[in-house]
């Protein structure tokens, strides 16, 4: 271990690896605040680890872990004071990037005419997300594809995204419902971050290996006392990730999954899952890639002032697919099928990647514990329908 020394800003480069000690973690948070970022990160609230504004290191879930399985999420205490000793909770970063309720514009109508006023640039927030897991980085990149890389751009999302500072965290443990390894989205953080941390706990040593991802990251990090990472540190981090990969709670076979779902629109498994699914929409709310929204147009009592708001919506609602007089997806069966087929199959045709990052939230937060990996496996195991016509083989 080398001695602690503050290295001059110019010296820190992208792809450098350094180590910061636990005692200095607060200085990293301070550096973020000094650079004008509002730090959002994990904290314990109402029996879960959620994402909220953080003011100090003490806000983090020190020494907490979580136990997750189908339809179950519980916090439990660790026997150490790890800052990031858990996986993901009911919140995802879309709560801040693609907020549940946004005002899009206001309009006024009076004697002089009608005016449409776009959302003021007032709250163009500058967030720093602390503790972004590999699966979540992928989820953010997936939402980027939807909201920034199509024919149209969501200006609100764009500004929130441009100002975003990302401190990623490599997972030191795999959750009971995690299957990022199957989806190729983790557990190792590979790109899309400003800084990536791996928490190293060994005996009474507590430090963080920090990988520098961007110049911006280097700049923020430079103020925090750090030393160059030694091989031992890097080895420890590597072993941790290998352990995590080996202990994934779930698995999903993605081989040919698009075609599998395309040729099984009438598979009996859909009927089976419908016996349990409540169409409660929890899965869509906790899923980090679900992006569906609806628009609400409201007016005040005078009728002179109108607003348009955008709010999260879910394909599980009956109204979601309503057209003149009825809903296209009137049965819960068709709506579950829509969600799962979209997530694992049609998403690929739409955006070039799977919509699922293997975070397992939908499994934890489903009140009846429906497990997407089990459903996919059930369809695969009795997929006796071999493609016979072009139609069944899927879409061109």
């Amino acid at each position: 271990m080398g001695s602690l020394r503050a290295v001059s800003p110019e010296a820190l480069q992208v792809r450098n690896s350094v180590v910061i000690e636990r005692e200095c973690f607060a200085q990293l948070l301070q550096a973020l605040a000094d650079h004008g970022y509002e730090v959002i990160g994990p904290t314990v609230r109402e029996g879960a680890i959620v994402y909220e504004r953080l003011t100090s290191t003490q806000d983090l879930p020190l020494g907490w872990s979580d136990e997750q399985t189908g339809g179950k999420y519980r916090l439990k205490r660790r026997d150490d004071d790890a800052l990031f000793g858990y996986v993901v909770g009911p919140h995802s970063w879309k709560k801040f990037l693609h907020p549940p309720l946004q005002q899009l514009w206001q309009a006024e109508r009076n004697g002089k005419g009608t005016r449409v006023l776009p959302e003021e640039a007032q709250a163009r927030p500058k967030y720093a997300f602390l503790g972004v897991r590999a699966c979540e980085l992928h989820a953010i990149a997936i939402q980027d594809k939807v909201l920034l890389e199509g024919q149209f751009i969501d200006p609100g999302y764009k500004s929130r995204r441009e100002n975003l500072f990302l401190v990623a965290v490599n997972c030191g443990q795999a959750g009971g419902n995690c299957f990022c390894a199957s989806m190729d989205t983790g557990p190792k953080v590979t790109s899309g971050y400003d800084l990536a941390l791996t928490e190293l706990l060994q005996g009474d040593r507590h430090s963080f290996l920090v990988d520098v991802g961007t110049k911006r990251g280097a700049e923020v990090l430079s103020a925090t006392p750090h030393r160059e990472a030694a091989d031992a540190d890097k080895q420890q981090a590597k072993r941790l990730l290998e352990e995590t990969t080996r202990h994934m709670g779930r698995r999903l076979d993605t081989c040919g999954i698009k075609e599998l779902l395309y040729r099984n629109y009438e598979h009996p498994q859909w009927d089976k899952v419908t016996e349990r699914c409540l169409s409660c929409a929890n899965c869509t709310m906790v899923c980090p890639t679900c992006f569906c929204t609806t628009v609400e147009d409201v007016t005040d009592l005078t009728g002179e002032h109108a607003e348009r708001r955008r709010r999260w919506d879910s394909c599980f609602t009956v109204d979601f697919s309503y057209i003149h007089g009825g809903s296209v997806r009137a049965t819960p069966r068709s709506r579950y099928r829509q969600w799962m087929t979209h997530k694992l199959a049609t998403w690929i045709d739409q955006f070039g990647v799977s919509g699922c990052v293997g975070c397992g939230r939908c499994i934890s937060w489903c009140p009846v514990g429906i497990d997407i990996t089990v459903e996919a496996a059930a369809i695969r195991s009795s997929d006796s329908v071999k493609p016979t016509t072009e139609a069944e083989q899927g879409f061109a």
Partner: protein, 287 residues
């Protein structure tokens, strides 16, 4: 409502969710539940152009927004015509508007009828009910360059003669242009002297060469499916058949997710689809 002599639009952000104010020039009742709004932009310097088959999101102040196909002549842009049925809150409120009232327009969105690909071909236009509205701009385009196409056949079916759209105009087309127009209704009182039966029954004997035809179909989904079937039976190539689909839309720009139809978004991969693209999901229950 209140007097609206002038309009000011604030907003320099190129936000596709912001409507542009248009003023109603005329409200025309077409049938007992269908009407057409004729619109011009408030700001006379506002540029607007569209391709046949595209749609706008039409906003009624404080009430809401609905997607409606554009049914005016693309050459007349920025004049817009929207024909719609009264089916819900927004269209009901729209029906109450009068000449001089303001509405908001976002668009044009979506894919268009492949009129440019029909050069040198026979063209079959099959319309059912209000489906003639999104096809009318294509007809205008075809008539404007009549010499590029061989036979043009319009097959139009409605529920009853009273439900026919643009009757007067259709008669004019019959007289003025080299178009074969065949009209049918599902049922009629004895005063009707024309065809009675679903529009698909006109396909077997319509005067076009299936080996060299491009077809554009718009109407209720079941009508479109059976029309495709008849066209295929007659030997029209699947790759040259186009349909206009419809689904719930909240944004029109591919963000809200409501309009998904299999792997397609009707607002950006449609509403005009080539038949081959959606053949495997067309008619699938609850997709």
């Amino acid at each position: 409502m209140l007097e609206q002599p002038e309009v000011v639009t604030a907003g320099l952000v190129p936000d596709p969710m912001l409507p542009t104010p248009y003023r109603i020039q005329r409200v025309k009742q077409e049938t007992d539940d269908t009407f057409t709004l004729e619109l011009l932009p408030e700001d006379s310097s506002h540029k607007f152009s569209f391709e046949p088959g595209q749609f706008n999101m039409v906003y009624i102040f404080g009430v809401g927004e609905v997607p409606i196909s554009i049914s005016s002549d693309p050459n007349d842009a920025p004049l817009l015509k929207h024909t719609t049925r009264v089916v819900g809150t927004v269209t009901k409120a729209m029906r109450q508007l009068k000449r001089g009232d303001t509405i908001g327009i976002r668009g044009p969105f979506g894919t268009h009828w492949p009129v440019e690909d029909a050069g040198g071909h026979d063209v079959v236009i099959a319309a059912g009910g209000i489906g003639l509205a999104p096809l009318r701009p294509a007809l205008y385009r075809l008539m404007a360059e009549r010499e590029k196409y061989r036979k043009i056949v319009l097959l139009y079916g409605t529920r009853t003669p009273e439900d026919m759209l643009y009757r007067h105009e259709v008669e004019q087309w019959r007289g003025k242009f080299d178009l074969e127009i065949q009209v049918t209704v599902d049922r009629a009182a004895s005063a009707w002297r024309g065809n009675v039966g679903v529009v698909t029954t006109m396909i077997p004997r319509a005067p076009f060469d299936p080996s060299n035809t491009l077809a554009m179909i718009c109407g209720p989904e079941v009508m479109m499916r059976f029309t495709v079937m008849e066209l295929l039976k007659r030997g029209v190539t699947a790759e040259r058949i186009y349909l206009s689909g419809e689904r719930n839309m909240k944004c029109g720009i591919g963000f809200c997710g409501h309009c998904q139809f299999g792997p397609t978004f009707v607002c950006k991969d449609g509403p005009v689809f080539s038949y081959v693209r959606i053949a495997s999901i067309l008619g699938k229950s609850e997709v």
